[in-house]
């Protein structure tokens, strides 16, 4: 049985997820993913009538139980500086990150 998630596909997922792995870690993760997929494929044994809807939260919300929308009233945060204080690199109140690669078009 060939693995559903091949090394190439695995690399693509790693790229999407912004990860980087050493080979040993990659091999473990890929094996576990393929094992989990075996379990996931059990879902194909479930007969699904066309009218079976996509679930959202399990619980059904009604007009009475849904929380409703937020009134448009300004309530400023009391401690924005505490939020900013969590950032690894800050300069003049800006959060600093390395640059994003960019290509020039001639």
């Amino acid at each position: 049985m060939t693995d559903e998630i091949s090394p190439d596909l695995f690399e693509h997922l790693v790229d999407l997820a912004a990860f980087a792995f050493d080979p040993e870690e990659a091999e473990y993760l890929r094996r576990e993913l393929n094992n989990q997929l075996k379990a996931i494929h059990q879902l194909e044994n479930v007969p699904l009538a066309d009218d079976v809807p996509l679930a959202s939260h399990g619980v059904t919300y009604t007009a009475e139980t849904r929380a409703g929308l937020r009134p448009d009233n300004w309530a400023p945060c009391e401690n924005p500086d505490e939020i900013l204080a969590q950032a690894p690199q800050v300069e003049n109140r800006y959060i600093i990150v390395p640059d994003i690669p960019h290509t020039k078009l001639d």
């Binding site: 989990q36 996931i40 939260h57 390395p98």
Partner: protein, 528 residues
């Protein structure tokens, strides 16, 4: 017998009446922690000693000074004759997946190890407002991803107070261990597939997964946003009911917290089970899992002791006047885990996108040339294996070309899991159940390291609890016996949406009726 061997309910009564001070109770809790807990979980833990292996290690962050201030404030109010809340002076531990302003909020992950939350989760805020004394943060599986608490980046991970060579379960293992060991009288946990009920069963305590939307998720560091439920961990049913009442209800910060009135759970607690229709399902007396080699489904009966505990509970309830309805079909139960493997991963992958080294928490200490490299290194170094697995699977099953095959299908199966319960609870249906009675877990607590690393087998520990998360319905696990290995066995009640009252009534009736049974006298190893 110390103050920590009393119930939260009695403790609050005594503190309110001025018979005991909150500070005294707190000191008793800190004393217990000093005796049983051992060193707290940390990133830099070194080798485990034999002494480590005999301790509970429930805590990551103990905030004794803050707790003392809270306790003094409660006592001052009592002395001044001011009103105090229903949890006055009750020591509480909080799973480190909730934010508390000014406290480290780590999710047991390296990537959040340095994060100090600038705001407090609604559930915590309400419990503290009710007078609970917050002892600090307890350990869990990293980002709640596991059923043993072993995947925490903060080691030593929690151990089972009944046998410290065994896991406490997870992911709320620190919560249930702390309550079982009498370090806290209450703990705030979360349940996404069974993460409150499974460790509650393993640790011989009561754990409640409320209805989705019953308790606000604001401040709960998200795993599976459509599945996550904050809930109580307590030593007994009354305490769990007391705690849920203090934290349930709508919240302007959570659009999914339902506007459903919160009943006085204590008022109906003693009403008994006379006339209650309680179901048993053969589909909860077995587990079904794919063979690791072939992928074929293997069906296996639950261990006799586990089944026996559930049947014993049914007999007790029948004696108390409940009508036991047998052979209730719950045909999609076996698909709970496969559907969960898809849905929870899609949500988790997205929820974990935000950990990128930009705004908070860990940023790689090694060199990087551009943003992408910073992202990759930060996430590779900051996340443990379990988050990585969940993210990768989530990426795969929600990718544009696979989403229909996996994600959409899983959501449809989730609808069927819900319809199993709808049919069982339908007042006009064939079964008209008030509650379903099942075992909580397929096994008792397993040995540390026995299952860890096998992500499939680990997930199947939640097979009997996860259907309630898919369906959104409430569930309660409480001790139902002690197995021959000396470990607790849990039994579970499941009820319709927002029928937590039913769970508490049934649980209380069972607990009271079995108070004199021999297994109730056995204490956890660390307390003997």
């Amino acid at each position: 017998m110390t103050l920590m061997d009393q119930s939260a309910f009695i403790t609050a009564q005594k503190v309110k009446a001025g018979e005991r001070s909150a500070v005294e109770v707190l000191e008793s809790a800190l004393e217990r922690i000093a005796v049983v807990d051992g060193r707290p979980g940390s990133l830099d833990y070194g080798e485990l000693t034999d002494e480590d292996k005999a301790k509970v290690h429930a805590f990551i962050t103990l905030t004794a000074d803050r707790a003392r201030q809270q306790a003094e404030a409660v006592d001052a109010k009592v002395r001044a004759g001011e009103a105090v809340g229903p949890l006055a002076g009750v020591p509480l531990s909080v799973k480190d997946i909730f934010t508390v302003k000014g406290m480290p909020s780590t999710a047991a992950s390296r990537i959040l190890a340095t994060f100090t939350a600038p705001y407090t989760a609604t559930a915590v805020q309400r419990l503290e407002a009710a007078g609970a004394i917050n002892l600090g943060k307890v350990n869990l599986d990293e980002f709640t991803y596991g059923s043993s608490s072993e995947s925490s980046a903060f080691q030593p991970s929690p151990r089972n107070p009944w046998d410290t060579s065994r896991v406490p379960g997870g992911s709320s293992g620190g919560s249930t261990a702390s309550v079982a060991a009498g370090e806290a009288l209450l703990s705030l946990g979360t349940d996404t597939a069974g993460s409150i009920r499974q460790p509650a069963a393993f640790c011989g305590v009561v754990g409640v997964k409320p209805t989705y939307g019953r308790v606000s998720r604001y401040g709960l560091i998200a795993f599976g946003s459509s599945l996550d439920c904050p809930g109580p961990v307590a030593a007994n049913v009354r305490d769990a009911a007391l705690m849920l009442g203090a934290m349930a209800g709508a919240d302007p910060h959570d659009s999914t917290a339902a506007k459903v009135p919160v009943p006085d759970y204590l008022a109906s607690l003693e009403q008994g089970v006379q006339g209650m229709r309680i179901g048993l399902s053969p589909d909860y007396m077995k587990i079904t899992f794919p063979d690791a080699e072939t992928g074929e489904l293997v069906e296996q009966d639950l261990p006799e002791e586990i089944k026996a505990a559930t049947l014993h509970a049914a007999e007790v309830l029948a004696r108390l006047g409940a009508e036991i309805v047998e052979d209730v079909p719950m045909p999609h139960t076996a698909y709970g885990i496969p559907a969960y493997f898809v849905i929870s991963r899609v949500e988790a992958a997205s929820n974990l996108h935000r950990y990128d080294g930009v705004k908070y928490g860990y940023r790689t200490q090694s060199d990087y040339h551009d943003l992408n490299e910073m992202y990759r290194k930060t996430r590779a170094e900051g996340f443990g294996l379990q988050p990585k697995l969940r993210i990768l699977m989530g990426m795969y099953v929600s990718a544009a070309q696979y989403a229909e095959q996996y994600y959409a299908r899983a959501l449809r199966v989730r609808s069927l899991l819900r319809s199993d319960f709808d049919a069982a609870f339908d007042p006009a249906g064939a079964y008209k159940l008030d509650a379903l009675l099942t075992p909580t877990t397929p096994t008792t607590a397993f040995k540390m390291a026995d299952v860890y690393g096998d992500s499939v087998l680990m997930q199947y520990a939640d097979q009997l609890t996860v259907p309630a998360n898919h369906a959104g319905i409430p569930g309660l696990s409480l001790p139902g016996g002690i197995a021959s290995d000396g470990l607790p066995i849990g039994v579970q009640f499941l009820a319709p949406d927002f029928a937590e009252e039913t769970l508490f009534r049934a649980g209380q009736a069972f607990e009271t009726a079995t108070a004199a049974e021999a297994w109730r006298k056995i204490k956890p190893e660390v307390l003997r």
